[in-house]
């Protein structure tokens, strides 16, 4: 028997606003209670008092290299069990869907690892949904490789064939980061990846000029990998990829999305505000997390590197090069809200904006926007009717209180938020 659930006494993030409304779930989907009332003439089987919590869609991470000690790029570790283990642990960060990311590696690594990380629907039992793989590199610019190993980088002299030789198959891949200035990328590779293999092409680790970036977008690219990092800095006579946030030759209907690591380390809050003010609808929060995410300070593996975690920073052992973040996506949402708050000069409306607009925009950057990048915004990243029932409870400071996947409780911070404790007597 499929039960009808009603979550009440809550505030929802819906239609770009915070609204007082109930959330109705059945069969793991969010449904329209008005239709049920008039057509089926039944009431909820089970009702939950949400104690005034804020309910948002579950967070979606498009770039995460590992977490809780596990490294997605490691062929030794790669297994379905490991992926599910991380998927379950990520629910404590409010993440209900993610794209495991693989850094520049050797062809044998790709050919071993890519077939293992299959797309997978999330559940309370198995954790967050796996939305495909993000292959970041190795077709990137040497000068902007960041933490990627030089000896693993490759060029695309023979166009798409070089990519196929390197990766093997694109079957489980959703997103690819590449440098568009490499040979044949704009003319051959990007159009083929988009049209033939249905991938989201992301520009990053690149020395591309704005002109090259524009041509890449026109060729089908739609995302920028961690804006500001691993690309030319904005220059007023040569805006580089950063200039894509305002660029005019693109059709008005083309939204360029851009990942942003808002962990207070990789991007100055002024830069966050700058990007947000210029192009708020394209902002996608990503963690670019290293395997140390979720772990205390120490030394860990990533790809073929040793990394050192100290406080909020993760660097390549022996250097000062940042190699990814250790802020959870939940923390990134909080940091983004703080960045917007810090930039509000109008003292009279600051409280009102902070309690509504900044909350909505920060949450949408981790839910609606990443879903839009993957063209899944009707199913994920939203509390609209018909969407998958992946949602989270948050308190006023946007700390995660509980995480639900496909309508079932996957994680809760304390017993107080366990659904057994929230359940009220059925009104039948």
């Amino acid at each position: 028997m499929t039960l009808l659930y009603r979550f009440y006494n809550c505030t929802l993030v819906r239609d770009h606003a915070l609204i007082q409304d109930d959330l109705w779930i059945r069969n793991g989907k969010i449904i329209n209670p008005e239709k049920i009332f008039f057509s089926e003439k039944t009431r909820a089987d089970i009702e939950y008092d949400c104690q005034g919590a804020l309910i948002a869609p579950g967070y979606i991470d498009l770039q995460i290299n590992g977490a809780f000690g596990h490294d997605f790029s490691s062929a030794d570790e790669a297994s379905e069990e490991m992926l599910i283990k991380v998927a379950k642990l990520l629910t404590s960060h409010g993440v209900t869907a993610f794209v495991p990311t693989i850094v520049s590696s050797l062809p044998e690594t790709y050919q071993e690892v890519l077939p293992i990380y299959k797309r997978r629907a999330g559940s309370a039992k198995d954790g967050a949904t796996i939305l495909g793989i993000h292959i970041e590199g190795p077709f990137i610019a040497e000068n902007k490789r960041g933490a990627h190993r030089t000896d693993f980088l490759r060029k695309s002299e023979c166009g798409i064939e070089d990519l196929k030789t390197c990766y093997g198959s694109f079957e489980n891949v959703s997103i690819i980061t590449l440098a568009p200035e490499l040979p044949n990328m704009v003319e051959n590779v990007i159009p083929e990846l988009v049209a033939r293999h249905d991938l989201v092409v992301s520009l990053g680790h690149s020395t591309a000029t704005l002109d090259c970036g524009e041509r890449a977008i026109l060729a089908g690219a739609r995302f920028i990998t961690h804006l500001f990092n691993a690309m030319l800095p904005f220059h007023h006579r040569d805006p580089g990829l950063v200039g894509l946030l305002t660029t005019h030759p693109l059709p008005a209907t083309t939204i360029v999305y851009y990942g942003l690591i808002v962990d207070t380390v990789h991007t100055h809050s002024a830069a966050v505000r700058l990007a947000h003010r210029v192009h708020p609808h394209g902002l996608v929060l990503v963690t670019d997390a290293v395997p140390a995410l979720g772990f205390p300070d120490g030394t860990y593996h990533m790809g073929a590197h040793e990394i050192v975690v100290n406080g909020k920073r993760a660097t390549i052992a022996g250097t000062e090069t940042l190699c990814g973040s250790i802020a959870s996506l939940a923390e990134c949402v909080q940091y983004m809200r703080q960045a917007l708050l810090d930039g509000e000069t109008n003292k009279e409306i600051i409280n009102e904006k902070d309690s509504t607009q900044f909350v909505v925009e920060s949450i949408e950057a981790a839910t609606l926007h990443p879903a839009q990048v993957l063209h899944i915004e009707n199913q994920k990243g939203t509390l609209s009717f018909g969407a998958d029932a992946d949602f989270i409870f948050l308190d006023k400071s946007l700390n995660i209180l509980s995480t639900f996947i496909a309508g079932e409780q996957a994680w809760t911070v304390t017993d107080q938020w366990s659904i057994d404790n929230l359940q009220t007597k059925s009104s039948q």
């Binding site: 008005e34 008039f38 003439k41």
Partner: protein
């Protein structure tokens, strides 16, 4: 007729809601003896519905044993259209209260056979033993439900063509595009409302002043269909100061003088008749 004159829209809403609450609670409805309530839509009852919701949330009122019959619904609008009267009632009342969805009756403007739909609605009211309290508003042209000027004062539930004034007044809900406004509606008749054991009409604002004057100070006339209620044994009319602007000073003074008695009828203790 009892005419209650209060200060403003907010007091009209509160008075109306308290009266409904008292009627239902005094009735002590149960599974064997349901309270049958007729309900309107439009801007006037929104404040009353808000107050009723507050009563339910404060556990002072329950709709568990209440059956509702709405007055009207547009023809051709799907139930889930944001401007349908189904959507209106869901949004302003039903989603917030503990009513059983099986006890809710709203005319179906998308029914395959509209005439049969209207006949079945009349039958459903009869099957429930008639309506205990019918709540309504009036239009600026004095219509009750969609019984536009010229409607028979003996009319039953049927399809009505909407008057040009009504369509124009409703355009604001349809993107100000008059072509999108439905041209027909299903409505209870004047006779259907008159059959109720008690009728309460809420009237607020200067735009309703002439209609109120025609309804209670002029004769019964099918051009001002709410005037049929002059013939009802239990007609309660709640209005605010602005709505009395076209009434005789004498009428207003007379009914204001009776407010002491009238206020008793919404007191919580059951002293009033």
């Amino acid at each position: 007729m009892r005419l209650i004159i209060t200060k403003d829209y907010s007091t009209v809403s509160e008075w109306g809601a308290k009266y409904i609450k008292k009627r239902i609670n005094d009735f002590k409805p149960s599974a064997d003896r349901l309270f049958i309530l007729g309900l309107p839509t439009g801007s006037t009852p929104i404040g009353t519905y808000k107050k009723l919701v507050e009563f339910v949330q404060a556990k002072e009122l329950s709709f568990k044993y209440v059956v509702t019959f709405n007055m009207d619904e547009y023809v051709g609008l799907p139930k889930d259209h944001p401007e349908s009267y189904h959507s209106f009632m869901w949004k302003h009342l039903f989603k917030h209260i503990d009513i059983d969805p099986n006890n809710v009756h709203i005319l179906n403007g998308s029914a395959p056979d509209l005439i049969a739909e209207c006949e079945q609605y009349e039958q459903a009211i009869r099957d429930h033993g008639g309506i205990d309290l019918f709540v309504g508003g009036i239009g600026p042209d004095g219509h009750i439900a969609f019984n536009e000027p010229g409607s028979s004062l003996a009319s039953r539930t049927r399809i009505k063509s909407l008057a040009q004034d009504t369509i124009a007044a409703n355009a604001r809900f349809f993107n100000n595009d008059i072509n999108q406004v439905p041209k027909c509606a299903l409505t209870v008749g004047v006779g259907t409302v008159m059959d109720a054991r008690e009728v309460m009409v809420l009237i607020s604002g200067a735009s309703k002043a002439i209609a109120l004057h025609m309804a209670i100070e002029a004769g019964m006339n099918h051009m001002w269909t709410v005037s049929a209620l002059q013939n009802h044994p239990k007609f309660l009319c709640i209005c605010d100061e602005d709505a009395t602007l076209e009434l005789k000073v004498k009428t207003v003074k007379y009914f204001k003088g009776l407010m002491g008695v009238h206020n008793k009828s919404i007191e919580e203790d059951n002293n009033s008749s």
